[in-house]
């Protein structure tokens, strides 16, 4: 027969200082883990929203980023005529040659400014992205004008609507701000393909070609077709997969977070063990009494284990609460693939919270197992004597 859980609850309340201190220790550990998950989650979300499953990105063979790629204009001409490529309402093939590089934008926070991805694209490229302008207007073809992602405008503090940026061969006017998307595109600056490619001497070699395939089922076949055509010297990848690969940008911080959480867990499970041993030794007489009343060794073991788990549950919930305000926290990490910064928001999702609670339970189980086992194995007579 099981000992009622209310017994454990009351005991935790009676020793409220010890309970609070131990639970808080567990809470901090859980908070670190949840924060780490929220960081990775936020970053993944940004990249997940960036890739359209119907889009295929064509790079030069061997390149793994747009920044380090250049595709011949002929390749673009060839690919846009492929039957698998979707057409827009005007009957034009949805194929966008793009030139991508990174530039430096002044920042109010750092004298060095921040590094941002600059993308030169044609009206088709904008149409394929399906984004709107929040303030101002789109850049005009043939003009030295750019539009700026909202995240960049916010992070920079000094580049916004109406300001002038200096890059390439001269000055550019910011004529619009791209609406908030929480995608990697919000961390970019866009301008006219011809203007930008001539400034960077890339007129005959766009960085990449983005294609929309009419039918989702045809995407893998189309990718294979491009990869196997040796004459093209190009490699194709789905846009989704391209962005998925970039989540490694958060790897150094992610590694640090998990590393810290595991070591802290060792510390807090040992601390929980200490608290539970103290609980067992203080309640020696009670344990003896319970045994005399007929509760089995198993129910004593279970009872103390449950008490430890309850303690860790309090800690786990508290830890999630501590991490919750992070939801409003934005930061940027350097992306080693595009060599520019990605702005993202922490996301404390259900997954992170569940992982945090599970983590707390593991800490509680490790901390409670040995003391509970010790309690259940005591001789009744010794226990009653309080020795």
């Amino acid at each position: 027969m099981a000992i009622p859980i209310i017994y454990n609850l009351r005991n935790l309340v009676v020793r409220k200082t010890t309970t609070a201190m131990t639970a808080l220790g567990i809470a901090l550990t859980v908070a670190v883990l949840v924060a780490d998950f929220a960081l990775v989650n936020g970053l993944q979300e940004v990249f997940r929203r960036s890739g359209n499953p119907l889009h295929v990105l064509v790079l030069r063979k061997g390149s793994n980023s747009e920044l380090a790629s250049s595709v011949n204009r002929e390749v673009y001409q060839n690919l846009r005529e492929q039957p698998a490529v979707a057409k827009n309402s005007l009957g034009l093939p949805m194929a966008s040659p793009e030139v991508v590089t990174s530039i430096n934008v002044p920042s109010s926070a750092s004298a060095r400014g921040i590094t941002v991805t600059l993308r030169g694209l044609t009206p088709i490229g904008i149409e394929m992205r399906n984004v709107g302008i929040e303030q101002g207007r789109w850049f005009q073809a043939g003009q030295r004008e750019v539009v700026i992602g909202k995240s960049i405008a916010r992070r920079s503090g000094r580049a916004g609507l109406g300001t002038t940026l200096r890059f390439g061969k001269g000055h550019w006017v910011v004529v619009g701000v791209i609406e908030e998307q929480d995608s990697a595109l919000s961390s970019e600056i866009w301008g006219d393909f011809n203007q930008i490619s001539s400034d960077f001497n890339r007129s005959d070699s766009p960085s990449s070609v983005l294609l929309r395939v009419a039918d989702a089922a045809a995407v893998p076949g189309f990718i294979n077709f491009i990869n196997e055509d040796r004459a093209l010297k190009a490699s194709a990848i789905s846009e989704r997969a391209y962005y998925d690969r970039q989540t490694v940008a958060g790897a150094p911080l992610q590694f640090l977070g998990i590393f810290v959480a595991i070591i802290m867990a060792v510390g807090s499970s040992v601390a929980a063990m200490n608290t539970m041993y103290a609980a067992v030794s203080r309640r020696s007489v009670e344990i003896g009494t319970l045994r005399v009343l007929g509760f089995s060794q198993g129910s004593i073991l279970l009872s103390f284990l449950i008490e430890s788990l309850l303690l860790s549950l309090v800690g786990g919930l508290l830890g999630c609460l501590i991490a919750l305000p992070l939801n409003y926290f934005r930061t940027g990490v350097g992306n080693m693939i595009t060599f520019s910064e990605i702005d993202f928001q922490f996301r404390v999702g259900l997954g992170a919270v569940l992982a945090g609670i599970a983590f707390a339970f593991i800490i509680g189980a490790i901390g409670g197992l040995f003391p509970a086992h010790g309690a259940s194995r005591r001789e009744i007579v010794d226990a009653l004597r309080g020795a």
Binding site: G25, N64, N104, T115, F167, L256, N274, T275, A278
Partner: protein, 390 residues
């Protein structure tokens, strides 16, 4: 006070299991704190620059690290007064052997062999090996750490397959150099890379960065300014900064490590406070009666306070020592496993300063946490404590 040390020690080991668990728990936190401080040091502090480091400058494109500089800049920089040596510094990227195997990732750079050991005077190499590197086009040299990691011997054939530089390079290992700090790097001849690139390729005439060694410390700032002034109005303006500043900026690009490290360290320190405070108050509560007996024997309140604080100190220092040892172990594991692009990570280690700080924090936090229970015990009247029934 010293004569009560045996009593303090005896008290600390009275409940062996509890003391051991407390020490273990605190040691885990202190070990973590040590590792975090070590990471902070290599990433954001970097220690004092060595004389050679203090003289080294990096010139890169003003706008972004992703943009290159014309190779002709190297010669023009070499002619600036106060410059001892300058070399192109071209990141090769690409892959060696099976790129999926982590140990095959290391830094590969194209440089000017005749300038290499003047820009990095702290590197040492036998003269014949240095000459071979300068004379053979396809020659390459590796740092000792890299050569021993991959088991390379002199004469090893090394094939690098490029990605954004679309070439395959067949290199011959002619030398292994020693560097004062652990670094995994392979240098090869920039001329060979240029020849391999197709004529007319834009990449043929550009380099990622240019590394410069100034002649004397007083010149460093003026040389940096002279380089930037020289190219200010060209199509490729430069930013020239010391190696130290460059690395710090690169780390801040990777992410806001400073804030993350400080936030986590604060959480860890607070955990230590909780754990230590919890244990100490449990011990003191159990010995309430005993305190009364000690007082009847003539122990004064301050003395009792000292004895309890002493016990906290002993436990904290024991934990600090164990924590430092584990931090040292962990640092060497992390240094082995961390990706090579994080600057300085291969030098991660617990320095005497970090160990000292760690012990100091242990002691301070231990004493602080003991203060409350110790004060309440020492202030309680004899009667109350003797009446106490645990």
């Amino acid at each position: 006070m010293i004569r009560f040390l045996p009593l303090v020690l005896k008290n600390s080991t009275r409940n062996r299991r509890r003391s051991a668990l407390t020490v273990a728990s605190l040691a885990a936190s202190l070990c973590l704190l040590g590792v975090l401080m070590a990471i902070y040091r290599v990433l954001l502090f970097g220690g004092d620059p060595t004389p050679a480091q203090a003289l080294r400058l990096i010139a890169h494109h003003k706008v972004s690290l992703a943009q290159s500089l014309p190779i002709a800049y190297v010669g023009r920089i070499q002619r600036i007064p106060g410059v001892r040596a300058a070399t192109p510094w071209q990141w090769f990227g690409g892959s060696y052997a099976d790129p999926a195997v982590p140990r095959n990732s290391f830094a590969r750079l194209a440089v000017d062999p005749s300038q290499t050991f003047r820009v990095w005077p702290e590197f040492t190499i036998p003269d014949d090996q240095r000459q071979a590197f300068e004379q053979q086009r396809t020659a390459c040299i590796a740092s000792r750490a890299l050569a021993s990691k991959l088991g390379w011997k002199l004469g090893e054939r090394i094939t690098l397959v490029g990605d954004y530089l679309p070439v395959v390079l067949d290199l011959n290992l002619v030398g292994i150099f020693d560097a004062p700090e652990a670094t995994e790097v392979l240098y090869f001849n920039h001329e060979y890379l240029r020849e391999s690139l197709s004529v007319g390729s834009l990449q043929r005439d550009t380099v990622s960065q240019i590394m410069v060694q100034a002649a004397v410390p007083n010149d460093v700032t003026s040389v940096a300014q002279a380089i930037d002034a020289l190219f200010e109005n060209s199509a490729y303006p430069t930013t020239t900064e010391s190696e130290r500043v460059f690395l710090l900026n690169f780390v801040s690009f990777l992410g806001n490590f400073k804030l993350f490290l400080l936030a986590i360290s604060a959480a860890v320190t607070f955990t230590i406070l909780l754990v230590s405070g919890n244990t100490l108050s449990m011990s003191v509560r159990e010995r309430f009666r005993e305190v009364g007996i000690l007082k009847t024997l003539g122990f004064t309140s301050p003395l009792i306070l000292g004895i309890i604080l002493g016990e906290a100190g002993v436990i904290a220092l024991a934990a600090g020592t164990i924590g430092c040892i584990f931090a040292w172990l962990l640092c060497s594991i992390v240094a082995q496993g961390a990706p090579a692009f994080i600057p300085g990570i291969k030098n991660l280690g617990v320095t005497p300063l970090i160990a000292g700080l760690d012990l100091l924090i242990a002691l301070l936090v231990g004493l602080t946490s003991a203060l409350l229970p110790a004060l309440s015990a020492s202030r309680t009247s004899i009667l109350t404590s003797l009446r106490h029934t645990g």
